[in-house]
C-alpha cells in the first residue's frame, strides 16, 4: 500500500492563501471529478429504482425534478472536467515554453470558464424546459 512521507507542512487556513486562477481551476477539476462519481451513484440508484419498483417507469420519471437536477449536475460537471482535462492533456503534450505558456495563460483559463458557462446554461435549459 501507499507509504506516507509523514513530514508534510500543514497550513489549513485556506482563506488566508491567495490562489491563482489556474490553481482554482485545478481544484475545480478535482471537485467535478468527485461530483461525477456521486452522479454515477445517482444513475445506478435510478436504474435500480426503475427495475425494482413496479410503478416507476422511464416516462414517469422523465420530467421529475430530481432526475432533471441529476442530469444538469452530471453534464455540467462532465463539461468542466472534460474541458479542464483537455487542457491538462495539452499542457502535458506541448511542453516547449511557447505553447505551454499559451495553454496555461489566463486568457485560456477565462475562455475555458466562459465556454463551460455557456454549455452549462444550454444543458440546464435542455434539462428543465
Amino acid at each position: 500500500m501507499y507509504t506516507h512521507p509523514g513530514n508534510r507542512p500543514r497550513f489549513l487556513s485556506l482563506m488566508a492563501i491567495k490562489f491563482p486562477l489556474n490553481a482554482k481551476l485545478s481544484a475545480m477539476h478535482r471537485i467535478t471529478g468527485l461530483m461525477l462519481i456521486v452522479s454515477l451513484l445517482g444513475y445506478l440508484a435510478l436504474a435500480h429504482l426503475i427495475i425494482v419498483h413496479p410503478t416507476v417507469t422511464l416516462t414517469s420519471i422523465h420530467d421529475h425534478c430530481i432526475v432533471n437536477c441529476l442530469n444538469s449536475v452530471f453534464w455540467s460537471a462532465l463539461t468542466f472536467h472534460w474541458l479542464s482535462g483537455l487542457r491538462h492533456l495539452l499542457a502535458e503534450h506541448f511542453t516547449k515554453p511557447n505553447p505551454y505558456q499559451i495553454i496555461n495563460s489566463s486568457k485560456v483559463s477565462y475562455l475555458l470558464l466562459i465556454t463551460w458557462l455557456i454549455i452549462s446554461l444550454a444543458i440546464s435549459y435542455q434539462a428543465w424546459y
Binding site: M1, Y2, H4, G6, R30, G33, L34, L36, I37, L40, L41, L44, A47, H48, I50, I51, T57, L58, T59, H62, W75, L78, W82, G85, L86, H88, L89, E92
Partner: protein, 114 residues
C-alpha cells in the same frame, strides 16, 4: 502491492484520451435515442445500445473505473493525514469493486429481457 505514481499517471492519461472522445459520442448517442411517452426502459436501452456503442461503452466503463480510482486515490493521498490514508484507500477500492459488481448485475438482469 506497491502503488506507483508513474503507472497511475500513464493509466490516467490513457483513460483520459479515450474518454475525451467517448463522452461526446455518448452525448450524441443519447440525443439520437430520445425518451418517448410510454417507452419501456428495456426497449429504450435496446435503441441506445447499438453493437458499436455497447462495445465502446464496455471499454469506457473499465477506463472510467480506472480513471476514478487514480483520480480520487490522488486526492486521498494528497489531503488526508498519514494515519487515515490506507483505511480510506481500501474503503474506496472496495466501493469501486461494489460499483463494478452492481453494473455487471444490472447488465445480466436487463439484457436477457431485451
Amino acid at each position: 502491492m506497491k502503488l506507483s505514481g508513474v503507472k497511475a499517471h500513464i493509466w490516467q492519461r490513457i483513460s483520459a484520451v479515450y474518454l475525451l472522445f467517448f463522452f461526446p459520442y455518448l452525448f450524441w448517442q443519447i440525443q439520437n435515442s430520445p425518451i418517448t411517452i410510454g417507452v419501456e426502459f428495456s426497449s429504450w436501452l435496446q435503441t441506445l445500445f447499438t453493437p458499436l456503442f455497447s462495445a465502446l461503452s464496455f471499454m469506457a466503463v473499465a477506463l472510467i473505473i480506472t480513471h476514478a480510482w487514480v483520480g480520487l486515490r490522488d486526492v486521498i493521498i494528497d489531503y488526508l493525514p498519514k494515519e487515515r490514508v490506507n483505511f480510506w484507500l481500501r474503503l474506496y477500492g472496495l466501493f469501486l469493486i461494489v460499483v463494478c459488481i452492481d453494473l455487471l448485475a444490472l447488465v445480466i438482469w436487463i439484457f436477457p429481457r431485451t
